[in-house]
């Protein structure tokens, strides 16, 4: 996770005016240029190593850079006076400047080659060349109406391209100009697409990667946008992808490929309206990675510039330059998203994630289905059960049983019926409901009220339909359904139970229909912890009948198509567990339990025999084929191949 450490004060410079930073030869050093002086600071030691001053009347207008090729420092005074000096030079006033014909915008140091001089008209020349022919007039590569705002250089192979960010002074349209280094023609113009009509970029930062350039812009409406410009592009418009929105005046800079820093983000805390934060964001997801509160100053001071080295972020607030050390680990999805869960961070900064580009596209025919649903749910349009049935049929005709959102429509329809029937007692379109339930797998949890109504009404048919077709029927409903079934057949059951216990033969205590319905219940999936709780509502008689039925099931063998033996055992365990003491005390249950014990014993014996059979079969499998040996290396143990041997 990214981290920002405490601030370290670097220097105090002129109250206003130009300040720029550039990396020195040493990794840890930084060159800070203001109007009067050029200083080299060591960031780890927080101290100034060296300083050069110029006279008041000839201030610096571009940042000083270290030119690797000539191993000297270069800067521009009064726009056109280029000076070059070595580290050993002590007095800069004595160094004679080279006067150029065109005003210089900035200097771009290159890692392996000569520094590039960027002129205000967009021309680019190598420093060496400029020093040889200072008076040469460089052709403009930018249209006159454009004002140069930022510039960067991108190389691929031997090809070098210069990217300018420029603003049209007339219509305030911002564009990126790409010109090839060496060519004097006008560069390729790519206009920035405003995320908002009235907005214009306030802060911006270029990042040069291999084969592409990234531009991050903060617009006046607070949108933070990311644009990617490929090395070879033919587009004439540059898309600005909004990442997030920050509501305050800020400054932005890249911290490598995956992160960028924004300074001056406003806090959420209403008690401290002036709190500003320095924040680090993930560039892929626009998620906040780290933040640090900036010290509150007496005046509402603006952050005028931000600059990042590999390890530090430099901020200038008026005269003060402070450095924040930061760490950004390798970006990962977990780190990018996991951090969002940190409420403290999230709540402390005003941020609105912009989901517009990620939003799911609406399905075209959704509106039609919605209309049909509304029609069915309109009491005025469907006053009678017949009309309602008609509307439902119409809706079902347009739905797809396989699709998830469609089952949601039906769930809401069921809910509607539940509500309506409580109001209108006679409204109960049973057949339609059965059709709806059978139509697709509706989640029981999405129509709880409907299930409650059905239970209240003791509609066994609909209940059976629900148990058959719904996937997550709550345990409470299962037990209540069971109770209803048993209650409806109570008299018959008790008689049969008595009969069977007298005769001592195994017989089914339920009638064919009831057995089918009970099997339906027994086959429902459930969680035994919750089930145990709800089973306690059954009375002892019900439990006895059920145990009797389960005993019947376990005693006969051909119940493969009715109830699985695993389910029977689960139910037996649950029933015995939930009413254990009552069953033990009850005289009625004793004979039944003894019989059950014998039946279970038989099954155990049977499973033991199966085990011994397995023991016999295992070595046979092991010995006859190598697939049985160790399955880890079986692949490729035998193959038939065609090989050319000579």
């Amino acid at each position: 996770m990214a981290r920002i450490e405490n601030a370290v004060e670097i220097t105090v410079c002129e109250d206003s005016g130009f300040v720029a930073y550039e990396r020195d030869l040493e990794k840890d050093n930084i060159i800070i240029t203001d109007t009067k002086r050029v200083s080299i600071y060591c960031l780890t030691d927080h101290k100034c190593i060296q300083s050069w001053f110029v006279r008041q009347n000839s201030p610096f207008t571009s940042q000083a850079v270290y030119d690797v090729e000539s191993q000297s420092y270069v800067a521009v005074k009064k726009n056109k006076n280029l000076i070059k000096w070595f580290k050993e030079t002590t007095d800069l006033t004595k160094v004679k400047p080279v006067v150029l014909s065109t005003a210089v915008c900035c200097l771009l140091p290159q890692v392996n080659s000569s520094t590039l001089v960027v002129f205000e008209n967009g021309a680019v020349a190598e420093l060496e060349q400029v020093l040889i022919e200072p008076k040469q007039v460089h052709q403009s590569t930018l249209p006159d109406v454009f004002e140069l705002k930022d510039v960067t250089v991108c190389c691929q192979g031997n090809q070098i391209k210069v990217y300018f960010l420029a603003q049209n002074t007339k219509d305030t349209v911002w564009s990126v100009f790409i010109s090839e280094h060496g060519s004097e023609s006008l560069g390729q113009q790519i206009a920035l697409q405003n995320p908002d009509k009235d907005a214009s970029p306030v802060h911006y930062s270029f990042l040069t990667l291999e084969g592409s350039v990234r531009l991050i812009t903060i617009w006046s409406n607070g949108d933070v946008c990311l644009s990617v410009i490929p090395f070879f592009t033919t587009e004439d418009h540059l898309k600005c992808r909004p990442l997030l929105t920050v509501k305050s005046h800020t400054a932005v800079t890249w911290l490598g490929e995956n992160y960028f820093a924004i300074a001056g983000v406003k806090g959420l805390d209403k008690n401290k309206p002036d709190t500003r934060f320095l924040t680090i964001w993930d560039s892929k997801f626009g998620s906040l990675q780290a933040k640090r509160e900036l010290p509150v100053t007496r005046r509402d001071t603006q952050i005028t510039s931000i600059y990042a080295t590999e390890e530090s972020i430099l901020l200038r607030r008026d005269a003060l330059i402070v450095a924040y050390k930061f760490t950004c680990p390798e970006a990962s999805l977990a780190s990018a998203l996991g951090c969002l869960r940190n409420q403290e961070i999230q709540n402390s900064v005003t941020v609105q994630a912009n989901w517009k580009p990620h939003a799911m596209k609406a399905v075209e025919n959704i509106t039609m289905k919605e209309n049909l649903l509304k029609e069915a749910m309109n009491k005025d349009k469907c006053p009678t059960e017949e009309k309602f049935a008609c509307a439902c049929k119409n809706l079902l005709g347009h739905l797809n049983a396989e699709k998830f959102p469609d089952s949601c429509y039906l769930a809401s329809l069921l809910q509607f019926v539940a509500n309506r029937c409580t109001e209108e007692k006679q409204f109960w379109p049973k057949q339609t409901l059965l059709e709806i339930i059978e139509f697709c797998n509706i989640s029981a949890s999405s129509c709880k009220e409907f299930l409650n109504v059905v239970l209240e009404k003791e509609e066994t048919e609909i209940l059976t339909g629900c148990l058959k077709n719904m996937s997550d029927v709550p345990e409470k409903v299962i037990v209540k359904t069971l109770q209803i079934y048993l209650r409806n057949n109570k008299d018959k059951c008790s008689v049969e139970l008595m009969d069977s216990s007298e005769e001592g033969t195994i017989c089914n205590p339920f009638s064919q229909d009831l057995a089918e319905a009970v099997n339906n219940v027994l086959n429902c999936t459930f969680n035994d912890v919750f089930m145990l709780e709800h089973l306690k509502i059954l009375n002892l008689e019900d439990v006895l009948v059920l145990v009797q039925y389960l005993y019947f099931l376990i005693s006969i063998f051909d119940h493969s198509d009715e109830v699985k033996v695993e389910m029977v055992i689960d139910w037996l365990c649950l029933l015995l567990d939930s009413h254990y003491s009552a069953l033990v005390i009850s005289n009625k249950a004793k004979t039944l339990l003894v019989k059950l014990h014998i039946a279970v014993e038989k099954q155990v014996q049977f499973s033991r025999q199966l085990q011994s059979l397995q023991g016999l079969l295992y070595p046979v499998l092991n010995s006859t084929s190598f697939t049985g040996q160790n399955s880890k290396h079986n692949n490729g143990l035998y193959s038939i191949e065609v090989v050319k041997l000579f």
């Binding site: 046979v620 084929s625 190598f626 040996q629 035998y638 038939i640 191949e641 090989v643 041997l645 000579f646």
Partner: protein, 722 residues
């Protein structure tokens, strides 16, 4: 009905026949056009990798300088005798048994002795490849060492006694026991004068006077941890009474044996030192152990004026071993070592300081011999498509799978329509390991022999019945090699008494047809021609005799060549016998003309390719092509070579072995211009044979991955950053 114990027992009887396995679908056997194969050299190859052979760790080594033989004792109690004169050829294997666990081995005047935890001293018969006799006296022995004059054998035993045994020409007899000590004696060495013995024990080293039997010096070693014993695993004494010890703390210490003081100590290893050896000139000492690095110590002159000398650590050898090194011995210029990783590794003893010399020395002496026996443990019934796998205590018979698709595209893997299936598992009843085994070409007979007797089984495939042939003739001796005649009517046996016996096969009463006159030494190879008329037998010394088995007489003797034969085979097209020798020479002998064949003579006129002669692994099998008389397949562990006799022989400038992938993918192998086609795709290759009916080959490989996984974990290496 409940399944009782008895039924289970019956289910697990030793020989199992699986009925379903026998359902051989004749219709699915592939039919390839023979003529196509003959022309383009493309074969359907059954690549078998399920031979579950378990290599055994090396426990101890001994070298006989006079006869240049190396004894390698493995963890299963088997002893391999390697002949260093003939290019490290594995000459014979004395099979072990379930009861023998050997811990020390020694050569005395060409006689081989071992001792182990049973406490017996065993001498071996190096012709019959069996134990001659055992002398059992006292407790479990940890170490065994003969004196320099070869008259006494000393053992160090678990009860703390050094026992001396008299060596006579016939026997070993107990002489006496030195004064006992409390701790077990783990290591032992004789002084050159034969008057002093030095022993390593727990926490101490003792010097003994052989004449009086009393300890004259006791050196106590420091423990690394208070509660952990320091075991002196190995000890040596030099002529100047310098004692060298290697202990369980990983320290190599040089002591002055006269006064019992330490001269120099090095923590040379991270774990126990298990073995040390001293060069003949006593100027270098090598130590190794659980930490598989071999460290050399050299005696160097430290002060030029008075010639003071001291032992300095000079060389680290990390080549070859990945696991604990249990034993190390100096054999001539080779430093031979072996351990848990089962490989026999050699390194140069002396290394010249100059770069070019060092490189040639390294090339010459740095070798790794994999743990696969020279004699194949696999046999094939080509006609029935059965494979016989020989394991130490059981045999397995597998039926090969089949495919219904034919193809000519090189490298194509054909879909297996019928998977291979194990149809038989024959367990031995005794404690002795199987020496040799064979299956007849039609798969109807299986024979194996241990050191006691030969066993014969008749296997009828339809319906599946395995019948043990009980009444074998009493004159039938235990065999070193077994071979069925191609028509499956006879069994040829190379007996332990060096003769060839012919057994007429019969399921009820097989009879011994003839026993040829015994050869001079153990028979290592046996070959029969396709008509079953001639049998060739080769002994350890290189004598090869061709017997006429219909006339029961010696047909011819091959000219004696001074190397050990490693593989031989008769051609199925001409009366020619192909022999490969340990020095990589190849000969083809025409037994009708009783002279070397034309090809063989031309081969030796222009000499074998230098790259061929430089190979270290020996040819383990020769197979003539069934269809093309000019094609011979030879293979060793690392490569398969197809010789096309119709093509010119390779010249010195030809490249014999493919070095890179580009060479492997050579588009047209036929245009390479010489007769030796090598293929290193199958590695390690243990067996190759022809399947008769569909002109395809079967190759048995041993996946190295399985071999590595079967090994115990290595000593943990500390690596940077972990």
């Amino acid at each position: 009905m409940p399944l009782n114990q008895e039924r289970r027992k019956r289910g697990r009887k030793k020989a199992k026949i699986e009925e379903e396995a026998m359902a051989v679908d004749e219709s699915t056997t592939t039919e390839l056009k023979r003529d196509d194969k003959k022309e383009d050299g493309t074969y359907t190859v059954h690549r078998v990798k399920f031979f579950n052979y378990q290599p055994n760790a090396i426990h101890c080594l001994a070298y006989d300088e006079n006869r240049e033989r190396l004894a390698v004792v493995r963890s299963d109690g088997s002893i391999e005798i390697w002949n260093l004169k003939h290019n490290f050829n594995q000459e014979r294997i004395i099979t072990g048994s379930q009861t023998s666990k050997l811990d020390s081995v020694a050569w005395v005047n060409g006689r081989l002795f071992t001792t182990g935890f049973q406490g017996d001293i065993t001498e071996y018969d190096l012709v019959k490849n069996t134990a001659k006799y055992s002398v059992l006296y006292g407790n479990a022995s940890w170490c065994l060492a003969p004196n320099h004059s070869g008259t006494l054998l000393a053992t160090g035993s678990d009860d703390g006694c050094v026992r001396l045994f008299d060596l006579t020409t016939e026997k070993v007899s107990y002489d006496r026991t030195m004064n006992p000590q409390a701790q077990r004696i783990v290591s032992l060495a004789w002084h050159k004068s034969d008057e002093t013995i030095v022993t390593g024990s727990i926490d101490n080293i003792k010097v003994w006077n052989v004449a009086t039997g009393a300890a004259v010096q006791r050196i106590t070693l420091q423990r690394a941890f208070k509660k952990r014993e320091n075991i002196v695993w190995c000890v040596a004494i030099l002529t100047d009474y310098t004692i060298v010890s290697g202990d369980s703390t990983g320290r190599t210490i040089f002591w002055d044996g006269r006064v019992g003081t330490m001269l120099k100590g090095y923590t040379s290893h991270r774990m126990d030192i298990l073995s040390l050896c001293v060069t003949k000139d006593e100027k270098s000492v090598f130590t190794t152990g659980v930490d598989p690095t071999i460290v050399q110590f050299s005696l160097s002159v430290t002060d030029g004026l008075d010639g003071a000398r001291s032992w300095v650590r000079s060389r680290h050898i990390t080549h070859g071993h990945t696991h604990d090194v249990r034993a190390m011995v100096i054999a001539g210029n080779f430093l031979v070592s072996g351990g848990l990783d089962t490989n026999l590794v050699t390194n140069p003893v002396d290394v010249s300081p100059g770069q070019p010399q060092m490189r040639t020395q390294m090339e010459q002496y740095k070798r790794v011999y994999p743990p696969f026996p020279q004699k194949s443990l696999i046999d094939c019934a080509g006609r029935a498509k059965l494979l016989l796998f020989q394991y130490p205590y059981h045999l397995e018979v597998w039926k090969l799978g089949s495919t219904s698709i034919t193809s000519n595209k090189d490298g194509e893997s054909l879909p297996v329509s019928e998977r291979p299936i194990k149809i038989l598992d024959i367990q031995t009843k005794g404690v002795e390991q199987i020496v040799c085994s064979s299956i007849s070409k039609d798969g109807s007979w299986i024979a194996y022999s241990d050191v006691d007797k030969v066993k014969l089984f008749h296997l009828s495939l339809d319906p599946p019945v395995l019948q043990k042939v009980a009444c074998l003739p009493t004159q039938l001796c235990p065999a070193h090699n077994l071979l069925f005649s191609p028509d499956s009517s006879k069994l040829f046996s190379a007996t332990s008494s060096c003769s060839v016996q012919i057994l007429l096969l019969d399921a009820i009463q097989p009879s011994l047809q003839h026993t040829f006159h015994a050869m001079d030494n153990s028979i290592v190879l046996l070959g029969v021609d396709s008509a079953g008329k001639f049998v060739a037998a080769a002994d350890v010394e290189g004598t090869i005799i061709v017997y006429n088995v219909s006339k029961f007489k010696v047909h011819c003797r091959l000219p004696r060549y001074d190397s050990q034969p490693t593989a031989l085979a008769f051609s199925s097209h001409a009366p020619e016998l192909f022999i490969a020798y340990a020095d990589q020479m190849l000969y083809e002998y025409n037994i009708e003309q009783k002279s070397y064949s034309h090809w063989s003579r031309s081969l030796h006129k222009c000499k074998l390719h230098h790259a061929w002669l430089r190979r270290r692994s020996k040819v383990t099998r020769v197979v003539y092509s069934a269809t093309n008389p000019d094609i011979v397949f030879l293979h060793d562990v690392n490569m398969l070579c197809t010789i096309d006799k119709s093509k010119p022989l390779p010249k010195a400038h030809h490249q014999l072995f493919k070095k890179n992938l580009q060479d492997f993918k050579g588009q047209d192998m036929g245009v390479q211009g010489h007769s030796f086609f090598t293929n290193q795709q199958f590695k390690p290759l243990l067996f190759l044979d022809y399947l008769d009916d569909d002109n395809s080959l079967v190759m048995v490989e041993y996946p190295l991955q399985r071999f590595i996984e079967n090994l115990p974990p290595t000593l943990k290496q500390k690596k940077f950053g972990t």
